[in-house]
C-alpha cells in the first residue's frame, strides 16, 4: 500500500515539477547560446539570465510550498476524508509524503547542476573539466587519505538526515496547528518556532556545554577531521527526526479532527 500511496503522491506533484524542470532546461539551453562575456553584457543576455535565475529560485520555492501544501491539503483539509478512510496505516501517509518531498528536492539539486553545466557547455572543454575534477580529487585524497570516502559518505548522509528532519519538523508543526479550532496557521507557526528553538537549545547544551566540557571540546583534538563529532551531530538530527515523526503520527492517530 505504501507503493500505491507513493505512486499517487508522485503523480500529484509531478504536475508541478516536470514542467518546471523542462522550462529550466530550455532556459539553460537558450543561455548557453548567449556567449557571455564579462566586459560586454547585452540586454538580451541580461534578460535571459535573469529569467533563468528566477526559474531556478522558483523551483526551490516550489519544492517548499508543495511540501507544505500536499501535507496540509491532502491530509488535513476535506481531502483527508478520502485519505484517512483508505485501508492504510496512517504512518504510511507521512512516509509517502516525506519520500516524495525528499525526491523532488534531490532532483531539483541535480537539475540545477545539469542546467549550470548546459549554460557553461559552450565555453568549456570537457576533457579539461574532467582533468580538473581529477586534480581536485587527488589533492583532496592527499589531505584526507582513505578517509575521503568516509567524508563523502558523511556529507551525503548528513544532507539527507538534515533534510528529513527539517521536513518532519514542518509536518509536526502543521499537525500541532490543526489541534486548534480557530487559529490553525498561527499555532503551526508558533509550534515551528517553539520546537526549533528548543532543538537549538538542546543541541547547544549537548555540544558546546555550559562550562566548557561539551562534546565539541572533548573531540576538538581529533585529527585530521572530526568525523566522530559530525556523526554525533547527524545522530542527534536523526533523533529529532524520530521525535517529530512520533508527534505527527500520534496526532494523526489520536487527535485527528477534520473540519
Amino acid at each position: 500500500m505504501l507503493g500505491k500511496l507513493l505512486k499517487y503522491e508522485i503523480k500529484a506533484t509531478s504536475r508541478v515539477f516536470l514542467p518546471l524542470y523542462s522550462v529550466l532546461i530550455v532556459f539553460a539551453i537558450i543561455n548557453s547560446f548567449m556567449h557571455f562575456n564579462a566586459d560586454d553584457f547585452s540586454i538580451p543576455q541580461f534578460i535571459t539570465l535573469t529569467l533563468y535565475i528566477l526559474i531556478l529560485v522558483g523551483m526551490f520555492v516550489a519544492s517548499f510550498i508543495v511540501m507544505i501544501q500536499r501535507f496540509y491539503k491532502n491530509l488535513l483539509s476535506e481531502e483527508g476524508y478520502l485519505m484517512f478512510t483508505l485501508p492504510v496505516e496512517n504512518w504510511k501517509h507521512i512516509v509517502s509524503k516525506l519520500i516524495t518531498s525528499v525526491m523532488w528536492i534531490v532532483l531539483s539539486c541535480i537539475m540545477s547542476l545539469l542546467s549550470i553545466l548546459i549554460i557553461a557547455s559552450q565555453g568549456i572543454n570537457f576533457s579539461e573539466l574532467f582533468a580538473d575534477i581529477g586534480m581536485i580529487w587527488d589533492t583532496a585524497y592527499s589531505c584526507f587519505g582513505a578517509s575521503l570516502y568516509h567524508f563523502i559518505i558523511q556529507m551525503i548522509v548528513g544532507f539527507i538526515v538534515v533534510m528529513v528532519s527539517g521536513i518532519l519538523l514542518i509536518y509536526a508543526s502543521i499537525a500541532i496547528g490543526q489541534l486548534s479550532d480557530n487559529h490553525k496557521i498561527l499555532l503551526s507557526i508558533g509550534a515551528f518556532i517553539g520546537i526549533y528553538t528548543l532543538g537549538q537549545i538542546i543541541s547547544f547544551i549537548l555540544f558546546i556545554g555550559t562550562n566548557g566540557n561539551g562534546l565539541v571540546f572533548k573531540l576538538s583534538q581529533q585529527s585530521p577531521f572530526p568525523f566522530a563529532i559530525i556523526w554525533q551531530a547527524i545522530g542527534m538530527s536523526a533523533t529529532f527526526a524520530v521525535i517529530y515523526f512520533i508527534i505527527t503520527n500520534t496526532i494523526l492517530n489520536r487527535r485527528l479532527n477534520l473540519e
Binding site: M1, K4, K7, Y8, A12, R15, N74, E78, E79, G80, Y81, L82, F84, T85, L86, P87, V88, E89, N253, R254, R255, L256, N257, L258, E259
Partner: protein
C-alpha cells in the same frame, strides 16, 4: 456472527461538550437503517467514530467485532457530507484510485452509473458542479461491494430526479448481507426504503425500531413520528 456495528457506552466529547453521550447500539447485517436526528444531534460524530476519523473519549465502537482501523476500513464504504475530491484528477483517474486501494471496488459498476447519470469519465473533477461532485462520490462509494455503507447526508445537495436514482442505486447495489446506514434529516424522501430507524438527539439514542413497527403499532409514518419526537 458479530453485529456489523456495535456501540458500547460510547462517548465523545469536544472539549467539555458531549457530542455523543453514552450510546449503546447494535446494528444487524442486511438492513437499511435511517440514522435520524436534527442538526447537531451527533449523527456525523457517530459516523466519524466508526471510520476512525475520531477516537472515542470513552466506551467502544466495533465494526464486525473489531475496533476501527485498517481492517475495518476494508469493510466500510463511507460517504462523508464533505466533498473530498481533489482538483487534479479526471473522473476515470479517481475510479482507478479506488480500484487500486479497495479490493472490493467494481469499476464496471462505476462506469455504468456514470453513463446513467450522463457524466463523462474524461471530465476533470474540478470542473464538476457541486451536485455532480456529490453524484461522483456516491457512485464511488456504492461501487464497492462493502459490508457496511455509512452514508452521511447522501441526498442533501442533489436535485429530486437524481435523488430518486440515487435511492434506487442504494437499494439495488448492496448485497443482502450488507447493511446501509443513512444519516439524514430529509426523512420523507428516504422513508420508503428504510427497514429500521434510529432516532438520535443530543448525542443519545431516543428510539430504535423497525419501520413496520412504527406503522403498525403507532399508526404513523416515520416522518410524522420524527416531528412528534423532535418537536421544538
Amino acid at each position: 456472527m458479530n453485529p456489523i456495528l456495535e456501540c458500547i457506552n460510547l462517548k465523545k466529547n469536544f472539549g467539555s461538550i458531549p457530542a455523543v453521550a453514552g450510546i449503546n447500539l447494535k446494528v444487524e447485517r442486511g438492513r437499511i437503517v435511517g440514522l435520524l436526528g436534527p442538526n447537531g444531534s451527533g449523527k456525523t460524530t457517530l459516523i466519524k467514530l466508526a471510520n476512525a476519523l475520531l477516537v472515542p473519549t470513552s466506551g467502544e465502537i466495533l465494526i464486525d467485532g473489531k475496533r476501527p482501523g485498517v481492517e475495518t476500513k476494508k469493510l466500510v464504504s463511507y460517504l462523508p457530507e464533505k466533498t473530498y475530491l481533489n482538483n487534479w484528477m479526471r473522473i476515470q483517474e479517481i475510479i482507478e484510485f479506488f480500484s487500486d486501494f479497495y479490493s472490493d471496488f467494481n469499476a464496471e459498476k462505476a462506469y455504468d452509473m456514470l453513463k446513467r447519470l450522463n457524466l463523462d469519465p474524461k471530465e476533470r473533477l474540478k470542473n464538476l458542479s457541486k451536485g455532480n461532485k456529490e453524484k461522483i462520490q456516491l457512485i464511488l462509494v456504492m461501487s464497492r461491494e462493502a459490508q457496511l455503507y455509512l452514508l452521511d447526508e447522501p441526498i442533501g445537495g442533489v436535485d429530486p430526479a437524481a435523488r430518486d436514482y440515487i435511492l434506487e442505486t442504494i437499494i439495488s447495489n448492496y448485497n443482502e448481507n450488507a447493511t446501509v446506514i443513512i444519516s439524514t434529516h430529509l426523512i420523507a424522501d428516504i422513508e420508503k426504503i428504510l427497514d429500521d430507524v434510529i432516532f438520535i438527539k443530543d448525542g443519545q439514542i431516543v428510539l430504535t425500531s423497525t419501520v413496520d413497527n412504527i406503522r403498525d403499532e403507532k399508526g404513523k409514518s416515520v416522518d410524522a413520528l420524527f416531528r412528534e419526537v423532535f418537536r421544538c
